[in-house]
């Protein structure tokens, strides 16, 4: 059991090197995580399904390969779990929705494939807000997910299952998706590293679409190095995604190792001070943000003020565009070819009943809103105008990056809240995305890293966000690693993992 404790305490990077060196067996590592799943799941509900048999087979294959002297992949033997938005051949994929109940994908998505090719072991699929629509992982017909730092609190969303599982050590690293902050916000609420890459850096093939021009997959990990390790495996052009970027994949781990030296001289961090005057920015969040800026400044970074003139229009722009695309992307769920079908006498009634029963209320709300903004009579005033404002927002960032290397802000304006506390006011929840959606609208890479805890009880994690120019993931990882080296937040263990730190 103490061996297993040692395993669970290790980062993904340390597990991979331990397995590669023969210090650890992949089967033991997988077994340790499967036991941790059993221990934590009753309280957390992070997993939608656990693929124990598959995981143990994959782990045994890694051990055999190592014994045979074969070259091991960068994630060989590392137990990973995927948000249930990722298509996994032969493993049920629901996207958090009743409308995909019973669907077992007959094809493999790029993410699952690349992870498997890198030797990763798939532990299972993780809970989420239905189709990625939400900030608390409550918008789902399944059990809501709890935050390992405070059971009864939300883990954030929509990648809340991933955040809870990674924080609870019930997987070594997890994959999330981020349309308006769905990787970074739960990472922030669960004391994790969450990286949303540049739009197109990681394929979207095999990632169920919410809003195609905003969606991006990325790693959620306990340490910055693990995010770099995973991104190295996931990044790169994919012939199955015409929007994937055909740009070389740099050595992200080298950037992390450079950052860990703690030297940020020559790096300029921009801060949009006006955004910090926002109503609803929690005082402790603001305090931790200022403390993090001080950490970066101590490491030699220069902190400058920048302006983002259209910042306050980002939420409105985002909710026009993401709902428009969602209403379109979700048109395929009609009960004809897969998933739920509510049989009715007529075709029209079959469609309507299937979609009524299959979609939850938040999904319906967004489908209706998206349908509204795309109607011929509202298109120019809503969708068209939002696409113009999106250009202005992207221009704002481009202008800011002439003055700084990256922009720092809190990730979420508030720490976690009690499950059920914010379900009745959709607009209030939408406004919580204020710091994260800019990166999605402008297609920029962004990372959330642990920045401390509230002083209240329960102690709730708080995150720091860094947004960089296109393809500046190495710079973000370098600064994140420097911050991590100068703090110890990432080493704390949540109470719900059964062991104290």
């Amino acid at each position: 059991m103490s061996d297993f404790d040692d395993i669970l305490a290790r980062s993904a990077r340390a597990l991979a090197s331990g397995i590669r060196r023969g210090e650890l067996s992949a089967v033991d590592v997988t077994q340790a995580h499967l036991e941790q799943i059993q221990a934590t799941e009753p309280a957390l509900h992070a997993y939608r399904c656990v693929t124990s048999e598959l995981a143990l087979e994959q782990a045994a294959a890694v051990d055999r390969a190592r014994a045979a002297g074969a070259q091991l992949g960068p994630l060989a033997g590392v137990p990973v779990a995927l948000k249930d938005i990722f298509v996994t051949e032969g493993v049920a994929t629901t996207c958090g929705s009743a409308i995909l109940s019973g669907w077992v994908p007959p094809y493999q998505g790029t993410h699952a494939q690349r992870l498997a090719d890198a030797g990763a072991v798939l532990l299972g699929k993780l809970a989420m807000d239905e189709f990625g629509m939400g900030s608390a992982s409550e918008n789902t017909p399944f059990e809501p997910v709890h935050n390992p730092w405070a059971v009864g609190h939300v883990p954030g969303g929509s990648s809340g299952g991933t955040a809870a599982a990674v924080a609870a050590r019930s997987c070594a690293l997890g994959l999330g998706t981020d349309t308006g902050g769905s990787i970074r916000q739960p990472a922030s609420l669960c004391n994790l590293v969450g990286l949303k890459p540049t739009y197109g850096r990681v394929s979207r093939h095999g990632m169920i679409a919410f809003a195609s021009s905003l969606d991006q997959a990325g790693p959620m990990t306990r340490e910055v190095g693990d995010a770099a390790l995973a991104l190295g495996v996931l990044a790169g052009v994919d012939p199955s995604d015409a929007t994937s970027l055909d740009a070389p994949v740099p050595d992200y781990l080298a950037a992390v190792d450079a950052g860990a030296l703690g030297q940020l001289a020559g790096t300029t961090i921009g801060v949009h001070r006006r955004a910090l005057e926002l109503d609803g920015l929690d005082a402790e969040v603001r305090a931790r943000f200022e403390a993090s800026l001080a950490v970066l400044a101590d490491a030699g970074a220069r902190v400058v003020d920048i302006e983002l003139p259209h910042f306050e229009h980002a939420v409105a722009t985002y909710y026009v565009l993401c709902t428009a695309e969602a209403s379109s992307n979700l048109a395929r769920y009609d009960g004809v070819r897969y998933g739920l079908r509510r049989a009715r006498p007529s075709l029209r009634e079959t469609y309507e009943a299937t979609r009524h029963d299959g979609f939850g209320v938040e999904v319906k709300r967004r489908i209706l809103l998206g349908t509204f903004v795309l109607r011929a009579e509202s298109y120019a005033d809503y969708y068209g105008r939002a696409m113009q404002v999106r250009s202005l927002i992207a221009q704002d960032y481009a202008a800011a990056f002439t003055r700084c290397d990256m922009i720092a802000s809190p990730t979420s304006p508030v720490p976690s809240w009690r499950i059920g506390a914010k379900v009745d006011d959709p607009l209030a929840l939408y406004l919580l995305d204020v710091f994260t959606i800019g990166a999605n609208l402008a297609g920029l890479p962004a990372i959330s890293i642990p920045a401390g805890f509230t002083t209240s009880s329960p102690r709730l994690p708080i995150g720091l966000q860094l947004i960089g120019p296109h393809l500046a993931e190495p710079a973000l990882l370098r600064v994140a690693a420097a911050h991590e080296a100068a703090t110890a937040w990432h080493l704390e263990r949540p109470p719900a993992t059964g062991a104290a730190s």
């Binding site: 169920i208 195609s212 395929r332 795309l374 298109y379």
Partner: protein, 512 residues
């Protein structure tokens, strides 16, 4: 008012399926007539997580068509989503091109109906645009269920949209014929209306002669033969004339054509039309077609039907013959090769042989192929020509033998038939083997003629009395006696010689 007081205005939307190995947006193979739902992949079924990736060959096909008809190609075009719920539409939207298509303008040249006396006179029907899109699946309807086959879903289409510039149903049919010929010349589509690889919708409106504003239009959907294009448009014109004459308004509607009753009927009116909620496709970047691609595509364009028709007429062929030869790209190519080979064999200018070769190609050859290349059927002589057992070189060899007098034209027809029955043999082999070589030996034929003349004194008397028709009797007799192998020209000459000799003999005093 009488029909002649209305001007008919027709615009056509023609869908043409592109002949690629895989579908428009996924590497899924496609073959017509395959087992239901066997030509599908994850994208075709609209499975969650799948993404469209455009097919370079489909874009290239579409680009060549656009360049062939003189479209302007913007450097960037965009894909768009068009939403409607239909079981044969797997994603709930069709990927098409909306406000930024890849091709703008251009024109299709059709025969000028105002100058029927001049078959080479043409008018240009201007196009609004051409865009690419993906096809939907196919529905069939059983007793209790409707059944969907997704094989066709995702197959690449181009939609060619004309301006409302056509003035009659006959012009409309000609437009589709010309378009079909062009895409077949380009080799980008089977363009077969029966099989649905060429489909036509027609927008029809009327206005008083002299009016400049367009009347309210109705769109007739799914016209799947040339006959129906003409009949449906004429039926719709009659319907609209009746409405207008009765003082009623034409309501913008989608129509279907009932061939049994020869009537169009309203499927739905504009009020009930869907809001398609078009928006730019976020799953694909804009499509960039650069100058280098355009240059390469232009260089690959073949000579097009009207250019070839005019060239053939300059060669001395009738406009009719030129039309028949160029209606089919394969046939036109076959003719060109046969003519060149024949000219080389004979050492003669091609122009001097064009009519002869044309007659053989459009007459005997097509007859033997049983190819019906009349405009109103879809069967292409091109397909038959591909399987033609007689190569253009073999046909040239055969014509050369006739021109050289080695065999008669009649024998030539028999030899050609034998070449069809025995693929692989050369005309010369068959001529030698089956004894078709005709006798041109002047002395032998003269002797034959003399014998026959002497055997028929009565007919000779008639001929000498000026009954010229009897000449044919003698030639026929010689051909009969020679088993058809006597060269008819030589027979004619020999007959002259014999008659002259007889005449001279009569003038002289009897030596006896």
């Amino acid at each position: 008012m009488p029909m002649s007081d209305y001007e008919v205005v027709i615009g056509l939307e023609v869908h043409c399926q592109l002949a690629t190995a895989t579908k428009m947006f996924s590497g899924c193979g496609y073959a017509v007539g395959a087992e239901p739902n066997s030509q599908i992949d994850a994208y075709t079924l609209g499975l969650p997580g799948t993404l469209p990736v455009p097919n370079r060959a489909a874009v290239d096909h579409a680009l060549r068509l656009a360049l062939a008809v003189g479209c302007e190609i913007p450097p960037l075009s965009r894909w768009a989503r068009k939403h409607y719920f239909y079981p044969d539409l797997p994603k709930g939207y069709q990927i098409t091109q909306a406000d930024q298509p890849y091709a703008l303008g251009g024109a299709i040249e059709i025969p000028d109906h105002a100058r029927p006396d001049d078959p080479l006179a043409t008018t240009r029907v201007p196009l609004l645009r051409i865009h690419m899109e993906e096809d939907a699946g196919k529905n069939t309807h059983a007793d209790e269920h409707s059944l969907i086959d997704y094989n066709r879903a995702g197959v690449p289409l181009v939609e060619i949209v004309s301006l409302p510039a056509l003035r009659s149903a006959a012009e409309a049919a000609d437009y589709v014929r010309e378009l079909r010929t062009i895409v077949r010349y380009l080799g980008i589509s089977a363009a077969n209306m029966e099989e649905g690889t060429l489909r036509c919708d027609a927008n029809v409106s009327l206005r008083p002669v002299g009016a400049t504003e367009l009347g309210t239009r109705c769109e007739i959907k799914n016209l799947n033969s040339f006959k129906f294009i003409e009949a449906a448009i004429n039926a719709e014109i009659r319907r609209q004339v009746d409405l207008l004459d009765a003082g009623e308004a034409v309501i913008q509607s989608t129509m279907s054509y009932d061939p049994g009753r020869d009537q169009t009927k309203v499927m739905r009116t504009k009020e009930a039309a869907a809001d398609y909620r078009y928006f730019p496709e976020p799953d694909m970047p804009p499509l960039a077609i650069d100058a280098a691609w355009i240059t390469a595509a232009k260089a690959s364009l073949p000579a097009l039907p009207w250019a070839r028709r005019r060239a053939l007429v300059e060669f001395g062929l009738s406009a009719y013959d030129a039309g028949v030869l160029t209606a089919d790209h394969e046939l036109a190519n076959y003719f060109d090769i046969a003519l060149a080979a024949c000219a080389e064999l004979r050492g003669q200018p091609a122009a001097s042989l064009a009519k002869t070769v044309c007659n053989w190609v459009t007459g005997e050859l097509l007859k033997l192929l049983k190819a019906d290349d009349s405009d109103d059927t879809d069967s292409t002589s091109g397909r038959s020509l591909a399987a033609c057992p007689v190569s253009p070189a073999a046909l040239a060899e055969l014509i050369g033998q006739i021109e050289a007098g080695t065999i008669s034209g009649r024998a030539g027809k028999e030899v050609l038939a034998k070449l069809f029955a025995e693929p692989g043999r050369s005309p010369t082999q068959i001529i030698e083997r089956d004894g078709y070589r005709q006798v041109s030996d002047q002395a032998a034929i003269t002797a034959m003629v003399r014998e026959i003349v002497q055997a028929h004194p009565q007919q000779l008397e008639q001929l000498l009395a000026g009954k010229d028709k009897v000449r044919g009797f003698f030639v026929g007799q010689v051909m009969r006696v020679s088993n058809g192998q006597a060269n008819p020209q030589v027979v004619q000459q020999a007959l002259e010689t014999v008659l002259e000799q007889l005449a001279r003999a009569d003038d002289k005093p009897d030596p006896s």
